[in-house]
Amino acid sequence: MTEQELITNIETAPETQEYFINMGPQHPSTHGVLRLLLTLDGEIIKKVEPHLGYIHRSIEKMCEKDSYQQIVHLTDRMDYLSCHMNNEAVCLCVENGLQLEIPERVKVIRTIISELTRLSSHQLWWGVMGMDLGAITTFLYGFRDRELITDIFEETCGARLTMNYNVPGGVMFDIHPNFQKRTKDFITYFRKKLPEYDELLTGNVIFTERTKDIGYLSKEDAISYGVTGPSGRASGFACDVRKRFPYSAYDRVEFKEIIYTEGDCFARYKARIDEMWESMKIIEQLIDNIPEGEHKAKTKAVIKLPEGEYYQRVETARGELGVYIVSDNKKSPYRVKFRSPGFSNLSALDTMARGNKIADLVATMSTLDLVIPDIDR
């Protein structure tokens, strides 16, 4: 709605009791700068309209002038909680374009670090979910457990959040000698802590009252809006890219695809908690059997993709990330497009939130696990 339409709406609709509230760009629970224009009737939501673009940094345009090694570090900052998976997506796209043979060691290392990133993203999501609903202690617990993973990353990759550890052809440097021991210690520690998460939040009667039967998304709606990731899988849409289009080392590990059919907030919550268990299983299967070899395949100093279009999809913590590169045989790509999972997930918010109250909107947005820089790029 433009400003003019908004004013006309207010002036010409005196009979209805509807009023507009802005959950503005700066708000403690929109997880970033997102403006939601709510049409309310008392406390019931009639319509939700997201206004985006507050953190648009033209990443796709910047990629058009950088070389292929340089576009990797820009993807760190898109969905900063699953940055390794973003990097992996771009590198895999370039490697497929070059028809490059990646060493086995690289595949396994990438998979382990991806799963660790997924774990840390879900830990942060769990903490923030509790905090949005009022249990502020959970935020601190989530971050406390996340510290151990960031320590692992800091030791191996050099940075805690924007890691930039992948290059087309492999990883930047080999893993640190302490990597395996630290990861194994972390898995032992976290296996004991995750049941605590259940005790504190999942079984809590107040929590279940606030999330059961709230924010329902049917399977048809999930498919038509393109809601992927744990949010889509909780509505019955079997869309795990790791199972359907395996990449890196996912074809040689055993893990379950978590599907729930209820489609409400509680199902999305359970889907993510179960995903954390599955991630730990994947890491345990791989951590002891890292094959020996090079940490990087040989590439030319200046990478040029042959002319054509290349697409690669990857399962990030939020859903399916797609990287689409159009190349015209120059040093930089002609066009890079990212299909971000958050954008499609957000488009389903209107359907999910209608008929519920404002407090339920906060719970729904929490379970969708939106990261706004991912949506705005």
């Binding site: 340089q70 570090h73 030791e155 809590n204 107040i206």
Partner: protein, 170 residues
């Protein structure tokens, strides 16, 4: 607690009502036990008192704090001024100003480094410059306290005055 409007008026409803209350209270007490455990074990506190522990703080060796040019004890570095790092940097945080030096023996002119300008304010710490250096002249140091009051202090010249290139490096 599932609430039915007439739930209390029949016997099964009464049983549900009481079991709802019992299960609800039990789940709340389980939650309180978790936080109570952390309250009674202050020895498990993981936070560090930051400015006071600067002496004992040890960062990991691969931590990307800022780019530095390695100098050895004789104030010599290995940078040839080849600008590979300048080309590799995605957003122009490195500027190499190079000059020419005439080698007295052979009469050939070689490129040497005049000033290595590093814009810390623009650096994204992506590590690509370190990877592209052919002589391993630069590395990432572990300092992370970069806040200054004056923005011009963030533009650093990395080669120390009077430093010369090590012999034998091309």
């Amino acid at each position: 607690m599932s609430l039915s409007a007439d739930g209390i008026y029949n016997f099964m409803g009464l049983k549900n009502y009481i079991s709802d209350i019992y299960n609800g209270v039990k789940s709340l007490i389980t939650g309180m036990k978790v936080t109570g455990h952390y309250f009674t074990h202050p020895g498990e506190i993981v936070t560090q008192q930051y400015p006071e522990n600067r002496d004992t703080l040890k960062m990991f060796e691969r931590f990307r704090g800022e780019v530095v040019l390695i100098h050895d004890e004789n104030n010599m570095h290995k940078c040839t001024g080849c600008s590979a790092c300048e080309l590799a940097c995605p957003n122009g945080s490195i500027e190499i100003i190079s000059g020419k030096e005439i080698d007295p023996e052979t009469g050939k002119s070689t490129k040497i480094i005049d000033t290595f300008v590093y814009h810390l304010s623009m650096c994204t710490f992506c590590n690509l410059c370190i990877l592209s250096c052919p002589t391993d002249a630069i590395k990432m140091a572990q300092g992370f306290e970069h806040s200054v009051f004056d923005r011009s202090k963030l533009t650093k010249v990395l080669n120390k005055p009077g430093s010369k290139i090590m012999p034998g490096i091309k």
